[in-house]
Structure formats: C-alpha cells, structure tokens
C-alpha cells in the first residue's frame, strides 16, 4: 500500500496541482522526501515561505496550479505576500501548512511553536483563508472542496497538517 505521503501527492495531482514549492517541516517530511527525490515534480525548495508564495504566483501566471508547503511559522512570514499579492491579484494556491504547537500552551511542543499553534485557526480566519484540518477519513472530500473553492474565488486555500499525518 502506498505511504500516506504518496497517497496525498497522488490526490493533489488528481485535482490538477502541478507546481510544488515550499520550505520543509518534520510534520510533512514524507511529502518533501518524495518531492525532493523525484525530478518529475520539479519541486523548488524555497529559501523562505514568502519567496515560495512568489514562486507559486509566478507559476500560476505561467499556467500552473501551485501548492506551497510550509510550517505554520512560515505562515507569519507569508502574510504580506498573501494579502498584498495573492488575495488582491486573484492568484490561487493550495497552502499545505503544518500545525506545530497544536496543543497550545498546554501541549508538549517546543516553545517557539506554542503561540502560533494556538492562534493559527483564528489567524487563518482573520486572513480570510478557507482551510480544512487534515483528517484521513475526510481528506479526499476536503481536498475536493478546497480546490473547488480555490477555483471559484481565485484565492489561496489551506490544508492544515497535524502531527503523524504525513511523516511517512
């Protein structure tokens, strides 16, 4: 049986995604490993998450349907790209965002992740980015729904990936 990461990438390709860039996170290490290993994906390992957003915008303008992978720390880095590029120019992308610090202050993640982990959902709402939390039983339907929303609005949508989902 295919690994969860392989299954996930296959699902994204079935929905038309054909440009991949981002910055790694241990929580989706399985996905980045495949992207790095297989040249057909043309994965660009970006230096920063906002630069990855720019790469995705350029790819969209060139006719592609992009995915940007990032840790939620990178969501903070990407805010200006999201609000002053993608959202005002109608440039869609699927953001795959890991959820470090998911447990918030009561959780067991490293200190630097606690606050972003705690505020991430309201933060995405505030930025008006529709999102779903990765859950294997609803993943196919969620990706389909998010992709439809992305096509209708021409704006970024996000899939939030918690611990243990895409590490293999």
């Amino acid at each position: 049986m295919a690994s969860p990461s392989r299954h996930f990438l296959d699902l994204l390709e079935q929905h038309g995604y054909n440009f991949f860039t981002g910055v790694p996170c241990s929580l989706f290490d399985g996905v980045t490993r495949i992207l790095d290993a297989e040249p057909r994906y043309g994965y660009i390992s970006a230096v920063r998450e906002d630069s990855a957003m720019g790469l995705a915008a350029g790819a969209y303008l060139g006719g592609r349907q992009p995915v940007v992978l990032m840790q939620n720390s990178g969501l903070g880095v990407s805010v200006n790209a999201l609000v002053s590029l993608h959202q005002i120019y109608d440039i869609p992308a699927l953001l795959v965002i890991s959820w470090r610090g998911e447990g918030g202050p009561g959780g067991d993640d490293a200190p630097e992740h606690i606050i972003m982990g705690d505020v991430m959902r309201p933060f995405l709402d505030l930025l008006r980015i529709p999102f779903a939390v990765f859950e294997p039983s609803t993943l196919a339907a969620d990706v389909e729904r998010l992709t439809r929303t992305m096509h209708e609005t021409h704006k970024p949508v996000a899939l939030v990936v918690g611990k243990g989902r895409l590490q293999s």
């Binding site: 660009i44 630069s51 720019g54 995705a56 350029g58 303008l61 109608d90």
Partner: protein, 195 residues
C-alpha cells in the same frame, strides 16, 4: 542617469525582442515609470509584496522555459529578498534576466538610504552563481550593455546605477490588480512562435 530614463531604455530593449518576452516589475516607482513610458499586456506590475518580483519571475521562468523572463527590480527590493538570488542561481533558469535599478535608496518612500552602496549587488549575484553579471554606470555604458545583455548566458543580472529622485507627477499603474493578472496570464500562456 535618471531612473525613469534608464527604465525606458531597458524597456525599449525588451520590446525590441518581441512578444516572447514577459516582464515582472517590482513595486514602487520603477513600475510607475515603466507603465508611464510604455504599457503592454506582457508586463506584470506589482503594487505590494515588496521583494518578491524575483521570486515571481523565477516561478514564471521555470514553467515557461521557451519565454524570456525579465525582472525589473530595485536595490531595496533585492535587499529585502536577497535569499532569492541564491534560489535563482540554484535553479539556474536559462531564460531569467534580472535588471536592477540601483540608487542606493528607497525611492518610493522618500529616498531613505539602503545599503547597496556598501554591498554591491552585482558582486552578490556573481557570488551566488548568476552566469552573467554586468554593471552599467552611465547612459552610454547602459546602451552598450543592452546590445548584448539579453543574449548573455542566464540567469543574468544587469545593475544600472541611477540617480536618486522621482519624476514629479508620475502616473500610477491604472489597470486593477485583477486586470493585470488576467491579461498577463493570457499573454504568458499563449503559444508564441517557436523561437
């Protein structure tokens, strides 16, 4: 040389190469000067997201390898996203031409100094691994550089030294961001004649 004049000279050189060229322009005065000189659907003007013109140009160059992608940038923009010079060099798209108008100042916010007078951006690009790098300090040097620059091995950077100061009464980019996306994407994904 005044920046608006330099922008116009480079734009004319790009336009002389025909419809296969796609231009991504950084935010600020450079875009407004380019728009005022000569607008075209093949130009994507940024109004925000400072620093990201090079990233957008890189993504575009990678997915449209048969097109020549030109990025109009400023020293403040390049410094804000210096890491992407490394991304450009690492990905090494042979169709990526980066033109940096360098006045060692943030022209759009009032001319406050940057640090490009102490950290030469041409040297940074060369060290990162751009295949061709040239610096033009005067109008005749720019004219000479433009005769060969867009045929040089890429990724390539042309740094143009320009004076500080903005042209009074310069217009703004008139099409809305949505219009800019729509017309540029249409142009960028058109099948052009084979080069």
């Amino acid at each position: 040389m005044k920046r608006a004049a330099a922008v116009a000279r480079v734009a004319d050189a790009v336009d002389a190469r025909g419809a296969e060229c796609l231009t991504v322009v950084c935010n600020g005065m450079i875009g407004r000067e380019l728009y005022t000189h000569a607008d075209a659907p093949s130009r994507f003007y940024m109004i925000g997201s400072m620093g990201l013109a090079s990233s957008i140009g890189l993504g575009l160059a990678l997915v449209q390898p048969s097109r020549t992608v030109v990025v109009f940038d400023g020293d403040g923009n390049v410094l804000m996203n210096l890491g992407t010079l490394a991304s450009v060099a690492a990905a090494a798209p042979p169709n990526f031409y980066h033109v940096v108008f360098d006045n060692a100042a943030h022209g759009s916010t009032g001319g406050q100094r940057t640090i490009s007078d102490r950290v030469p951006l041409d040297a940074v690009a060369r060290a990162a691994g751009y295949r061709s790098v040239v610096r033009a300090g005067a109008e005749d040097a720019l004219a000479t550089a433009l005769t060969t620059f867009f045929d040089a091995p890429a990724p390539a950077m042309l740094v143009v030294d320009v004076e500080r100061g903005n042209q009074p009464g310069i217009g703004r980019v008139e099409p809305s961001p949505l219009e800019l996306t729509s017309r540029f994407r249409t142009r960028a994904t058109l099948k052009t004649r084979s080069a």
